[in-house]
Symmetry: C2
Subunit: 413 residues, 2 copies
DNA sequence: TTGAAAGCGGTACCAT
DNA sequence: ATGGTACCGCTTTCAA
């Protein structure tokens, strides 16, 4: 086979037909490497050059005659041509991928954000890589590094971040490396590291939620969620604290329970709250999940919601409207946040300059049946048995209040 | 001729330090193409050839001296080298990406499966692309095509499939195209199209769940979930039907409500079920979500669970243990399924041959408090007010039964 | 065991 | 408007 002509050292045939590849239709795909048609195959069939074919197929704005365009498109269809994105990414230095990192895709709020991001990105022809960091800076950094090698169009960090300078440094460096490669990094709901981000005004929202309890007459309100050095939790705690301070009710440290933002976390928090032996008539949970967990634990102890204890959540996941009782909570537009994150990236990519430091989406207090005025009978700990006439649960269908303050602050902090 | 080294008009200084790259702080507009170090840079710094560097960096099994290996690794570290996966994918014809398609990542069961897949894939150094198809064959096909251009290491289809030959054909073709490129396609919980898959024995599990209700004395049991031509729903229906038939209780068509597998779907189903005016004492929901939705709608109508109506779900999502009442359901190992899907792909990739047609993971009936014997007082429709002494709710902590039948059938159908 | 060089499949620059 | 072609960064023969 190797018949080296004079100037053909490697005996590389290749002339113009000798490609050892599969031509369009390999009925007998005996070999294991069955590549599809390449852009050169398309060009050849269309009787044009690869350059022209590329200009058509890549949707370039470069001028191409209608005739050529049509022939290329037809040839591509005939050959079942599919762009090799690795090749494209190699030459353009950018892949049509956007990376998303959540703490845990299993969390209903995060999956909602991811869904919004996916819908937006897919509409623009990109795909979304999803990774979990379990709120671990090390995992986050590792994932960012994996993303670096993909040269994605953008990266979205979803969810709050722990304020831990030591752990944050490597993350900051990984983010910087991405940026050095021209990859925009944005966030949903966090604002450390100078990352442009979209979020809801957590402080105001939490204050709004707790003010609702205060308005109902509650003063001894517990805060469930942690850790407190998480940007998200910290802000919600700040709002909680503000609402209380506002009416001259100091925060009772014993009512602040730091617990993971999960169902389990919520349940465990109740045990600790009760062990603290500090009376309370209401609970503000940093997350709906925590609220559900708390409610379930409360109920196990014979406590009735909202007769004995009122509960407010945060996020308004779908389940909130279907739980027992339906949960009063802060509606956060999860999907819209994901969508907005994509816009942040797209704006950056389109050369419209880097995104602003922060932008806010409106939240809403949705009053359902888990909150009511405190009952007259004072109660705490296991002694919760009789609830007294605690007043009517909120009217249903749920009322809702949209909070417009702080909306669309383009560069707020 | 045309040595790729000399005449370098595109401004590639190249000396040994002159790369216009970052020096920890990119002075902003220094240039738009800030590439990282390439493998050639690493090789040069190590005083070796790119080939050798590649053999070290790509974890090739090719023999390399310890000395060389060490120098390459050090150089890579010094330069902060990160592999360009596009380049690697281009030459190897395979990217280190696995594609996952779910109906909706927002569904807690699917996100659990995805999480398992991610954990397994990430452990092997791959990343996961996640897309949603909303149970729409068109979207599914579109996503498969996008994946085709990525040349992923494997593709996982998650969730049941609608048995609709017309809509299925394009999907089958897209799957075939993937396979033609050597991309293994596997599934979690579906078994159409000859796709190797892992799942739980839905028929047996549903039969187990409904048998539990039957054993409690229920005969008029409603089935909630649809559409019935979904592989998953069909199987669960089959199990439901079998359990009933087994005790000589024929299926009452009026008690079979086809409804989307969502919270809303569950709620709406109740309205229709009641409108059907057929008495029932228990409900078997094809999904926990449906069960939650149903319970919420039932409660709105003043119906007590399980006093007036018993409810069984399917999946055992985390919430099932925290709902009111805690839900009796079939535990499906979501994460394990995702993990198993990855093993199916990995086995294929490792040349161990294509995966078997089907493999089953064990399920478990978890009895919690949403089921009890039917009350003596007969009731239906809005007349549900008095429940009578319906017997004790199931003991808590929940009992659980592991179903070992049909376990690990390597090639079962 | 290492080096040299040929591409993988696109894209984009430079002529034409 | 099109064609020719030099790369992108990496892996992988083939030679040494």
């Amino acid at each position: 086979m190797t018949s080296p002509r004079d100037d053909d050292p490697q005996g590389e045939p290749d002339g113009q037909e000798g490609r050892p590849r599969r031509g369009a239709q390999g009925p007998e795909a005996a070999g294991h490497r069955a590549h599809g048609a390449s852009i050169r195959d398309v060009a050849r069939l269309a009787g044009l050059s690869p350059g022209t074919a590329s200009r058509v197929l890549s949707g370039s704005s470069y001028p191409v005659s209608d005739d050529a365009r049509q022939r290329v498109e037809e040839a591509a269809r005939a050959l079942n041509y599919v762009t090799n994105s690795a090749a494209r990414a190699l030459v353009t230095g950018r892949s049509e991928i956007v990376g998303a990192i959540v703490h845990d895709i299993t969390d209903p709020f995060f999956s909602g954000v991811v869904r919004g991001l996916q819908d937006a990105a897919v509409a623009d022809g990109l795909v979304v890589l999803v990774g979990n960091d379990d709120r671990d800076a090390g995992k986050l950094e590792g994932y960012l590094t994996m993303l670096l090698s993909q040269k994605p169009t953008g990266v979205v960090l979803i969810g709050g971040q722990l304020r831990d300078p030591a752990a944050t440094l490597p993350v900051a460096q990984a983010v910087q490396r991405l940026r050095d490669q021209g990859v925009p990094v944005v966030a949903v709901g966090r604002y450390e590291l100078d990352i442009p981000h979209v979020t809801v005004d957590d402080v105001a929202a939490a204050e709004c939620a707790v003010s609702h309890l205060v308005a109902l007459g509650h003063r001894r309100i517990a805060f469930l969620g942690g850790p407190l050095n998480s940007t998200t939790v910290q802000d919600r705690y700040a709002g909680y604290s503000a609402a209380l301070t506002h009416v001259g009710a100091p925060v009772d440290e014993r009512l602040v329970i730091q617990t993971p933002l999960t169902l389990e976390g919520g349940s465990q928090a109740i045990a600790r709250l009760i062990a603290a032996e500090a009376p309370f008539t209401a609970i503000f949970a940093a997350t709906d999940e925590v609220a559900f967990g708390a409610i379930s634990a409360l109920r196990e102890r014979g406590c009735r919601i909202p007769l004995d204890v009122s509960v407010v959540g945060f996020d308004d996941v779908v389940m909130a409207a279907h739980s027992d009782p339906p949960l009063t909570t802060i509606h956060v537009p999860a999907r819209a946040l994901g969508l907005a994150a994509w816009h942040l990236i797209a704006r950056d990519e389109s050369g419209a300059g880097a995104a602003p430091g922060a932008s806010h989406l409106p939240f809403e207090l949705v009053v359902r049946a888990s909150t009511a005025p405190p009952s007259e009978v004072f109660k705490h700990e296991h002694a919760i048995t009789v609830g007294g006439a605690g007043g009517e649960p909120a009217a249903s269908p749920s009322e809702s209040l949209t909070w417009t303050a702080g909306l669309d602050k383009p560069n707020g902090e």
